[in-house]
Symmetry: C2
Amino acid sequence: MASDPRPEVSLGRRSPMATTRIVVADRNVITRVGIRSILERNAGMAVVAEATTYDAVIDAVDEHGPDIMIIDLDLGDDTTRGLSLCEEISDRYPATKILVLANTLSELIVIEALRRGANGYLCKNDLKSDELINGVKAIQDGDTVLGRGVGSLVAKGLGSTRDKTEHLTDRELDVIRAISRGLSNKQIAHEMFISESTVKFHIQNASKKLNSHRRAELVHRASAAGLIT
Amino acid sequence: MASDPRPEVSLGRRSPMATTRIVVADRNVITRVGIRSILERNAGMAVVAEATTYDAVIDAVDEHGPDIMIIDLDLGDDTTRGLSLCEEISDRYPATKILVLANTLSELIVIEALRRGANGYLCKNDLKSDELINGVKAIQDGDTVLGRGVGSLVAKGLGSTRDKTEHLTDRELDVIRAISRGLSNKQIAHEMFISESTVKFHIQNASKKLNSHRRAELVHRASAAGLIT
DNA sequence: TTTGCCCCTATCCAAACGGCTAGGTGGGCA
DNA sequence: TGCCCACCTAGCCGTTTGGATAGGGGCAAA
């Protein structure tokens, strides 16, 4: 809990004696405790609050105005809300840097997160302790940090996917979710009160965006991207 | 690679009142550190080793013969190997209890894990610290522990799904993976050196087992069950 | 006001799919 | 030895798709 004040070297560019105040948002205790332990082994970092829901994140930031916000986008059942959260925080508290700490690596999400104000994106899997610590430091220094694999993924997709990816629209997502439940176009049309043609239209558009040619692939990609559950 | 930066306490031989010796297997440092912190806040529990790969788990168990093995099935890219691991450990070291600590809640995986020798299944999401600690204690006492939500899920599925679920066979999984890549039956047939009929055959069988009627749904269910990535 | 996006609809056709029945092979286990 | 099971193949038929093309209406930002 209490950070042990080990006199570490490299106070770097930051002003001496300044503690980096961090808020951690993750629905998973184990992860929260883990992050806290790793960071607080490091002089000058203190986790001042933990949050487990979207609303709690807002409250925590309001209350503590932290230097860094470490957040797992997947707090509830909807990653999209996590993204909005990035936007809201970076709008209202430009001084608070945001580090996304994700379970999965998805190009779509990375790009969206960065567009909405995230300053870094690390993937929990195979992350090393010092990568986390250095990432936090770098972000505080104003850098943008993309973890191993993340950077290349984004770079690779910048030319090709980025322009056409953007978002899937709400209707497109609805349709994909319906497809994942095994419904036919006719059934989806009936359920959504639209014509079968429209269903096909949405599917075609979503397919172009996710670069797939079969509904099964579409579902898989959307699923892998965390867009559907 | 280099494991934890904290010095381990070696306690010599196990005395009657000895500590519970625990091995933690998870590819995620944050999680490993978190589990260690939570457990070691508790007198009488010591994490004696950490492992990040399937092979390392075997080595660790060989070397330490722990009382409890806490494992995330999803160590590599193949959950199935995690399941085999449960089987191997519980065969070779019946005294070592196995607690599965999963990211996702999947009926199929829970049942498989239990059948293969796991003594408990907790879901990391929304898990509380004391649930973890109490779970470990209960398992050491010989109980089987199913976390909140897990138990009811299994119970609900016992009559319906269990008999027909069984396993998907290797070929069935191969086919599903191919489908998720957007391949047509013809393409899959070509890729797997079998006839289109056979592809359809595997799909039909897999569909019955996962109770789906459309390949898109099949992919989604397999994906949700962690059977494909 | 123009532009752009999202949403909706339509029709056409070849290809793919699902659901079925009815077989054949080889390995492992009782 | 016989049975079970994973695996493989075949053909049929109606339905569902993918892909393309060609529109119209509404709403908001530029």
